[in-house]
């Protein structure tokens, strides 16, 4: 990443393997496909937060707002008789993007804590709104009666979650590639500059707020599509799509995986959700307790998450191997 030469253009082997393994998921974890879809969706959602937090440096505890808007947009569309999946995604992207664009003007003002509170406030506002607008959202009972039509007119959403998995994987993969392109562009570099030192970016002539607004809108589109995927693959939307907990857990996933590395969100979502799947059976309190302890540990002992730790291990191992080769 240090020198922008051809390196950024090549796709390393590890990345190809990563996606091939996910594609092989149909055979590798056939009985866990629904969970795997959820992981992908959470990973896509975390990718959106990575742009906001990892690249642009805005600490947000209200990102579920855009996820929720997307989920409701797709959900309402499908429950009103239009069950074609891709148009649902499109509507979700537009609605969440519009919400993100409008609220971004509030978010980009101020500094860390102000932004934290404004994003939290926006999240809570939308959550309350969904609770009140029972006609639209079904309130506490959730949005029922979503009828999804077959994907591309042929693949019916099945009870084993095969189609849902393939759908989530395809959408996540395409959006990931687009995001990969964006963060490696001059625009992506400018976001990292803003994260590091917004004041100096102004002094270089950057309209910092405008860049952040563009970034935030794009991230909201991603969050909205993730929300829509969840709605469509589970054929249900509850107010929890907008909950503070979802925002906080999203942040945890991203941090666990590692920020500013693109793959951190997907890795973190996998680690988080698989651990949750197995550990919360024991006792929900244990899960939350150790999650909290783990967060503190991450802050204390290395902030680049699981992915960062793996990369460091790999580097150390490679150096060792080179040394060994030299000595022999």
């Amino acid at each position: 990443m240090s020198i922008p030469t051809q390196a950024a253009r090549q796709i390393p082997v590890a990345e190809i393997v990563f996606w091939l393994v996910l594609a092989a998921g149909f055979w590798l974890w056939p009985s866990y496909l629904p969970l795997a879809s959820q992981v992908l969706i959470a990973g896509l959602f975390a990718l959106s937060l990575d742009l906001v937090l990892g690249y642009a440096g805005i600490v947000s505890l209200g990102h579920a707002a855009y996820f929720g808007v997307g989920a409701y947009a797709a959900g309402v569309l499908a429950s009103h008789g239009w069950g074609e999946p891709f148009s649902g995604l499109l509507l979700a992207a537009v609605c969440a993007g519009a919400t993100g664009f409008i609220t971004s003007f509030l978010v980009v003002r101020g500094k860390d804590l102000t932004r934290l509170m404004v994003t939290t406030g926006i999240g809570l506002l939308l959550f309350e709104l969904a609770n009140r607008l029972t006609d639209v959202t079904g309130g506490n009972d959730g949005l029922l009666g979503m009828e999804m039509r077959p994907l591309l007119g042929t693949f019916r959403f099945d009870m084993y979650g095969k189609v849902a998995y393939g759908y989530s994987l395809a959408v996540t993969f395409v959006l990931f590639l687009l995001m990969r392109r964006v963060v490696n562009s001059p625009f992506g570099l400018s976001l990292r500059g803003i994260r590091d030192n917004p004041g100096r970016m102004l002094a270089l002539g950057y309209p910092v707020h405008r860049r952040l607004i563009a970034m935030y809108t794009l991230a909201s589109v991603y969050a909205g599509i993730a929300g829509a995927l969840l709605a469509q693959t589970t054929q249900f939307v509850g107010t929890d799509v907008l909950s503070f907990n979802r925002s906080a857990e999203l942040m945890v996933m991203l941090i666990v995986g590692g920020t500013g590395m693109l793959y951190g969100g997907l890795v973190g979502a996998a680690v988080f959700m698989v651990a949750h799947h197995y550990l919360s059976d024991l006792n929900p309190s244990y899960w939350q307790f150790w999650l909290g302890a783990f967060l503190i540990a991450i802050v204390m002992f290395g902030r680049d998450g699981v992915l960062g730790a793996c990369l460091r291990l790999m580097r150390a191992w490679r150096v060792r191997a080179q040394k060994a080769a030299l000595e022999s």
């Binding site: 240090s2 922008p4 562009s185 100096r200 002094a203």
Partner: protein, 248 residues
């Protein structure tokens, strides 16, 4: 010759302290101008007012004919006004090359491109490398700025300013913190600036000031004490007393 930068009765009040007290300056295009004055005289505050980091309590700033007092920092940069900082103000996590690329990309108008890989911005990378070479930084272009020695970071500070293609360059003690021997490259780079670039230099080293400047403004307690050619300033009894007091 036309006026590149002008201020009119600029005032900055910090609570009870008047850090800048009705300063009126006028820099013709291409002038090499120095502002000197004891610590706390208000030199940095003046630069902050010129660039828009601070809002003046009173007075106006003009770039050429245009009044820019109400414009924001980045809008003034767009009009060719660039500065460096007395204390390093850089991008610690980015590499040297990436930092300079930020400035170059914005200059070339490619910084909004979402789609072009940075690696494919050959013109920008070449321009950035060119600037790094003039400052002898090209061999460390891949290092993160935070890993560099302070003196090298000072050079990156200059590199960023040069990359902005300034028409008016404000240098706030550019050599502060640079080991004596290493400041040569820095001043050589400044000396190589095209003649039409207007430079305002704040500097404590009198040798450098007298060698560099065509005109010198002496700022004391926020106000202009006197202004003149280096010879006039060197002869000025008032300046000797107030500013060079102990030395003379």
């Amino acid at each position: 010759m036309s006026i590149a930068l002008r201020t009119d009765g600029l005032v900055k009040q910090f609570g009870g302290l008047r850090a800048v007290n009705s300063v009126s300056l006028s820099l013709p295009q291409g002038q090499r101008h120095a502002v000197i004055g004891p610590n706390g005289a208000g030199k940095t505050s003046l630069i902050n007012l010129l660039t828009g980091v601070l809002r003046p309590s009173a007075g106006e700033v003009y770039l050429g004919e245009e009044r820019v007092t109400r414009l924001s920092v980045h809008q003034r940069v767009k009009r060719g006004l660039t500065r460096t900082y007395q204390i390093n103000n850089l991008f610690p996590e980015l590499t040297v090359l990436q930092s300079v690329l930020l400035a170059v990309c914005e200059q070339h108008g490619v910084a909004t491109q979402l789609w072009r890989p940075l690696a494919a911005c050959a013109a920008e990378i070449a321009a950035a490398r060119e600037i790094l070479r003039t400052l002898n930084l090209h061999h460390i272009e891949g290092e993160a700025v935070k890993e560099l020695a302070y003196g090298q970071q000072r050079l990156v500070e200059i590199a960023l300013a040069l990359a902005c293609k300034p028409r008016i360059l404000l240098l706030d003690e550019p050599a502060a913190g640079v080991p004596k021997g290493e400041s040569a490259a820095l001043f050589a780079a400044i000396a190589r600036l095209p003649g039409e670039v207007t430079v305002l230099l704040i500097e404590h080293d009198m040798d450098i000031v007298f060698r560099f400047a065509e005109r010198i403004t002496v700022l004391v307690a926020g106000a202009i004490l006197t202004e003149g050619t280096p010879q006039e300033i060197a002869r000025d009894a008032q300046v000797k007393q107030v500013y060079l007091g102990n030395a003379a």
